[in-house]
Symmetry: C2
Amino acid sequence: MLRAIELAALGPEHDPNPRVGCVILAPDGTVLAEGFHRGAGTPHAEAAALADLRARGHSARGATAVVTLEPCRHTGRTGACSVALLAAGIVRVVYAVDDPGAASGGGGEALRGAGIDVVPGLEADRASALIADWLGTIRSEPEPSGVLRVILKTAATLDGRIAATDGSSQWITGRQARAHAHAVRAHTDALVVGTGTVLADNPSLTARPWGVESPHQPLRVVVGHRPIPVGAAVDRGDGRLVRVRSHDPQQVLDELLSRGVRHVVVEGGPTLATAFLRAGIVNEIHAYLAPLLLGSGRSVVDDLGTTTLGDAHRWHTRSIERLGDDVLVVATAD
Amino acid sequence: MLRAIELAALGPEHDPNPRVGCVILAPDGTVLAEGFHRGAGTPHAEAAALADLRARGHSARGATAVVTLEPCRHTGRTGACSVALLAAGIVRVVYAVDDPGAASGGGGEALRGAGIDVVPGLEADRASALIADWLGTIRSEPEPSGVLRVILKTAATLDGRIAATDGSSQWITGRQARAHAHAVRAHTDALVVGTGTVLADNPSLTARPWGVESPHQPLRVVVGHRPIPVGAAVDRGDGRLVRVRSHDPQQVLDELLSRGVRHVVVEGGPTLATAFLRAGIVNEIHAYLAPLLLGSGRSVVDDLGTTTLGDAHRWHTRSIERLGDDVLVVATAD
């Protein structure tokens, strides 16, 4: 941790973002990689350390991340660090200072929910001293209430297809991209699909980063009027299956807000994705892209009502990440 | 250069790739960024230095790159370094050792052709000593002959559309992605489009990285039977316009090989892209993706004859790069 604090101090002192350092350790305690935050708009310390790790040809499987600040849960200009650590295969996170931010905080709890061993508070005084100004600012921010963050997840070929003409779609993306999507599931309060997806793919909608179910499981929300078949994988008899008999995305969100959901991932097919996009209530797109070309088959979105390029739904790229042969593009509306 | 050699020495001594270091200097000589090659499968030294530059929030516009080995012209597991340097806005490249590789060499000449000030040979003895084994191996490789490398360039939305339903397509990608594509043009021997593209967009098919025509201009090759309108931008009366009155990609390549072309970029629309893909003669795809969703409009490729996912054209991701809000995925067939 002292090395992580040393790294943090290399970052810019006057910056809207806090100075953070991160060291990644092998199970035997060897230092595998290091990183620090170089200021707003550049990768967070955890992402920098993971990039350093990859550049050195090491794997994060079974490793420990030591960070001066609780890994963030939100996605700002970069991907959420807690998801990145989980997806990389980190099993233990040791951090110094709790993140008091309303949007960014909660990463430690989310990681614990996903089955990661989380140790907070190590050298908290020293690490806090480095970011005293930032902590003062962030603590005075008002807490948002009743706000639901909607992520739309898609997985498609380079030509935007989610299935071949015969309907085959498993798997377009590879193991690492799927593990990443499971890490995102382990962080979210609810997963939403349409009845069409339940009938076509019979998904279990559980969070299984690296194959094992995480302790925290999201609500499984099925939208639409068609009945769910008896014995469907989504119906586990645990009271966490939610049916919303409507096609109106706003009604889905109202139902979820009434249940205290704050963070939702829409994983349904093109019909559901198109409805949410047309309703203008998607905050973030997670587009997983595989280096395949199909030339035909179902497209990732249906008719959005655009006829000319100026009407296209324009997003802002927040981060790109290579996951094996696939690419994850995270884009936000604002 | 001595610092670049020092950096190079940090790389792995026993590796199929040579040890290379790179320093990027501001016009006033200040060090802006550093990088070195960490071994096969990781970014080349130039790419590492450019990544370091971006992480520090600096720009490469007007900067000088100092490299221990001539920047590569080919694209292996990573993008071609000479293209990356040019696209980043580097104006001067100082390097130590000529790359004798048949595929990788020629980067210096290509950069000079693109209008970059290239200074070879600085501290060549010291830098050579560091990679003596690799130089021995690479010099004994046979020279390939009559081989043509075909790059297919596409620019599409996240849902694989290259135009809206009314045909509007300018511009799907942003300034940085277009500048990168122009840097690739400045490196190639020939650009191929179909008559459809000439009639629809009236492109000049010149290489203009950063707005200025580079000294080296590729042959402008127009494929198809329809006549080119009088006064078309592609017809500059310089003898570098080539007509191929055929729709057979192999005939196009035969014509180009007979003219000594070794490296070609196919920039035509979906019809031409599909013909080249179906013929199986594309070596590399440069897929520029913009964070837009259209939901309708022309797709980036037409029917490839695939009906099930197992028949999809599967590529291998070599590199991903963020260019402003856009993403470039470079994928190869092998």
